[in-house]
Structures are given as structure tokens and as C-alpha cells.
């Protein structure tokens, strides 16, 4: 099942956490292969361990069982070619947009070079925030803050972009807008994206593949190819061929929430 062009592979992953009430199995028997430059959305109820998948890929947690590999190499520590976007933008409130975006350079090397600033300005422009380089996070809207969060993840030009419900804290309109812009970004500079979400329309709009997870213990219960061409836009979700898949996903999630 592992092929040379796979960017991320999960091989029989089990994840158990020690908690106050005893061991908790977060993931069990997870097998998943994600191709290079594929956009995969992971959909599931809360507590199904979908964020753990992301943290395993980032090398922030080690799996209890199995192996996570990136480009065929087992992940033993955080890699340089992986960028993370969190649910909250979590910017540094004392630093302006440019310094926030270039923060990885400052954190790794102790200072921000002129070259880092040029790169930062470039990714800031890519996320549509040109002209806001010197603003502080508190002066920006929630959507703009999350754009800075995305720019920070893109700063090191990662091949893999991990996104942990990045738009769930935003209002519905901003959320849609950010989705379209993310697609533009992805199309102009392709990346492997692992996108964690609660939202069926969001998953269908963005992804090539939707992986559905069930909870307790977290495991993959379905894996669909999204039968839509690209580019996608406002009309995409109204296409009739997507309605059946949307309701099927809804049934799966509801069955899992109530069982």
C-alpha cells in the first residue's frame, strides 16, 4: 500500500493516552496513505482523534503502535518541510504581522534576516495582507489573523500543510471566503494538505478526498473521493452530484454521534 509518491502514510497506527481515569485509546488500527499534493479532509465528531493524526504527522507525538512516515521516512521528530495552522491563529500579540510571519526564523536562529523579511512579505502578499505588515494582531479581524497564521505556516515553504480546523473560529461568510482563498493558494503552489474539519460542506468544497473517522476508539470508517473537478467556486456545492455524497456523510456522522 505504500508507494513512492505517498507524502504521508499511517501504518496501523494506535494511540493510547494515560489519563486520570486510566488509559484512553484515541486511535486504533488507522491506515491511511496520502499522495503528494493531495488535499485530504479528515471529517469526524469531536474526540475521534483527528487532531492526533495531525500531531503525529507533525512529529509532536509518537504513536503507541505503528509508524507514521513522511515521504517514506518514519517520523521521529518534527520535520522542516511541515507547516501547521491551528484552530486559533495564536499569534504573538506584541509582534507585528511581518514579525509574526517570520517568527519561525527568529525562533530557530535568534534573529530575522533581511532575506527572511523578503520571504515574509512575499507570503503575506500571497494570503492577501499586503500593506498590513506593520499592524499588530489586535488591529486585525479574526479572518485576517488566521491569514497571518497561514502565512506563518507557509513561511518555510513546507511541502506538507497541516490544518487543524483552521476556519472553525470564523463567522460563516469569512469561513467560505477563506476556503476559496486557500484553494487559490493551493492551486498556485501545490502542497500536500491534511485538513481537519467538522464541516461537511467545507470538506467537500476543499478536498480531493474525504476521510471519515468514528470515535472511541478513533478509526477510519469511510474514505471517499470527491467527484468534483477543479477549480471550484460558489456553485460547486450546489452541483447535484455532490448532494448524495453530502447526505451520505451526514448519515455516517450522525450514526456515529448517536451510537
Amino acid at each position: 500500500m505504500e508507494s513512492a509518491q505517498d507524502a504521508i502514510t499511517f501504518a496501523d497506527i494506535g494511540q493510547t493516552f494515560a489519563t486520570r481515569t486510566g488509559p484512553l485509546t484515541a486511535l486504533s488500527g488507522v491506515d491511511l496513505a496520502i499522495k503528494r499534493h493531495e488535499f485530504v479532509a479528515v471529517l469526524g465528531p469531536s474526540g475521534c482523534g483527528k487532531s492526533t493524526l495531525l500531531r503525529l504527522t507533525a512529529g509532536l507525538v509518537k504513536p503507541t503502535d505503528g509508524t507514521v512516515s513522511v515521504f517514506g521516512v518514519p517520523v521521529t521528530r518534527p520535520r522542516d518541510d511541515v507547516g501547521i495552522v491551528f484552530q486559533q491563529a495564536t499569534l504573538l500579540p506584541w509582534a507585528n504581522v511581518e514579525d509574526n510571519v517570520a517568527f519561525p526564523a527568529k525562533h530557530m536562529r535568534g534573529r530575522i534576516s533581511q532575506q527572511d523579511r523578503d520571504v515574509a512579505k512575499d507570503v503575506i502578499a500571497k494570503v492577501g495582507l499586503a500593506g498590513f505588515e506593520k499592524r499588530l494582531p489586535r488591529e486585525l479581524s479574526g479572518g485576517m489573523q488566521q491569514r497571518v497564521g497561514i502565512a506563518r505556516a507557509l513561511f518555510r515553504n513546507p511541502d506538507i500543510l497541516l490544518m487543524d480546523e483552521p476556519f472553525s473560529a470564523l463567522d460563516a461568510l469569512t469561513r467560505d471566503q477563506m476556503g476559496y482563498e486557500l484553494l487559490d493558494l493551493w492551486q498556485s503552489s501545490p502542497k500536500t494538505v491534511l485538513f481537519i474539519t467538522h464541516s461537511i460542506p467545507e470538506a467537500l468544497l476543499l478536498a480531493d478526498r474525504v476521510v471519515v473517522m468514528g470515535a472511541r476508539p478513533g478509526k477510519i470508517i469511510a474514505d471517499y473521493k470527491v467527484p468534483l473537478g477543479r477549480p471550484r467556486d460558489e456553485r460547486t456545492l450546489r452541483a447535484t452530484e455532490i448532494q448524495d455524497l453530502a447526505s451520505e456523510l451526514r448519515d455516517l456522522l450522525i450514526a456515529k454521534e448517536t451510537s
Binding site: I84, Q88, L92
Partner: protein, 265 residues
Amino acid sequence: MSLTTQTKDPLLARLMRAPGLLPALTFAILLIVWEASTWLFAIPTYILPGPSRIIGGFDAVPFARWVEHIWATLRVAMFGYVVAILVSLPIAVGLAKSEFMSRAFYPLLVVIQSVPVVAVAPIIIVVLGTDDAPRVLITFLIAFFPLVVSMTAGLRATPPELIELSRSLRAPAYREITQIRLPFATPFIFSGLQISITLAVIGAVVAEFVAADAGIGYFIQFSTSMFRLPEAWAGLTLLVAMSLVLFQSVGLVQKLFMPWSLPQK
């Protein structure tokens, strides 16, 4: 026309909005009532001197001697305060970063905090002598605990995502403290610094009560033993002013150098 008639008395409304005017007015009325009642009820000055008598109390001592007293108290308070900051910072980093350190040392800190420093002060004076050292130690003991608590809380309040970001960058571990945790703790640290600086003044005064030959605390005790109450009240007034100025200075430093750490209006 309709715009100008919205308030009945625009001048009064504007005055009420002037910053600080309302509390100043309250304070002035309190002083007048205080002064009037000491005259009206003929309260003896050794029980309660009126504000005018207290102002007179300032004249009873030469200006140079006042400066000497203020400097003695301020010096000890500031010294103890700085020592408290320098000691509490590494302790807070240890407590915040390590569960082991926290479990091993926190109970000990609580015990130290629970010791009534006023009661230990005479012992400290006997052990360390009568120069500044024992007074600085007493001040430190009173001022440092709130600093440790607020710094530890602040260092722990960092968003976990940023710690993950730090780990994902594989940066040197100390930078997690200097570039993420400490700056994030700034609002907490400053509230601790503000509480602590007024405690430092209290600490210096407590030390002076036990053993000193200068300082406002010493002066208050000396004056009361001579039944010179207006002078004691004058000293007390100076202490209040000193605490207020120091408290506001800490706030000003935060406002000037770390405006982002203040709550948004």
C-alpha cells in the same frame, strides 16, 4: 438646536467626564468633613488630628531630615523588591516548566509565605545585625510570594499551540521561555509587580519598626512614642504617597514599553 439641548447643563456634564475630577471631588469633600468635625467636636489631636494639623506636622521636622527618612525607606523597599524579582523569576520558570519542581517546592513556598514575617523580623535582625541587610531580607520575604504566583501563572498561560509551534521548529529550549512564555506572561507579571511594590513598602516599614535609626516607619514609631500625632500622620501621608507613586510607576512602565499587554479598550 436639538443637538445642543440634549444635555441640560453641558458644562457640568463635561466636568463630570473630566478624568480624575470625580474622585478628586470626593476626596476633597472627605477632607473638609474631616477638618470640620475635628473642630466641631473638639477632637484632641492625639486621637485624630485634622488635615490642617497634619500639614503642620510636616513643618515640625526639617526638610533634609524628611528626605533622609524617605530615602531610607525607599532604598530598603527598592532593594528588597529587586531581590524579590531576581529570585522569583527563576523559581517561577522552574515551577512552570517542571511538574517535579512544582510538586517538590511549591508546598515549601506556601509554608514560607504562611510564616508571619512580622513575627520573624526580630529574629532576622538579631541574626543579620542592624544595617540594611536584615531589612532588605524582611522586605524580600513579604514581597516575593505574589511575584512567584503571578509569574508562574503567566508562564503557564501560554497558548499550548505556540509551545507546539516552538517544538515543531526544533528551536533551542531556552527560546521557548524567552521568546514565547515570558512575553506572554507579561500581563500577569505586571499585576504581580504592582501588588509586590506596595508590599515592599510595607516590608520596609515593618523592618523599621523592629530596628532602625531612620526611615518613615521609624519616624512614625518615634513620633507616636512622643505623642506627636500630627507628625506621625504626616509620615503616614508620605508612606501612602510613596506607595501610590511606586504603584503608578509600574503601571506607567507597562504602558510605555509594553502597551500590547494592556487590556483592550
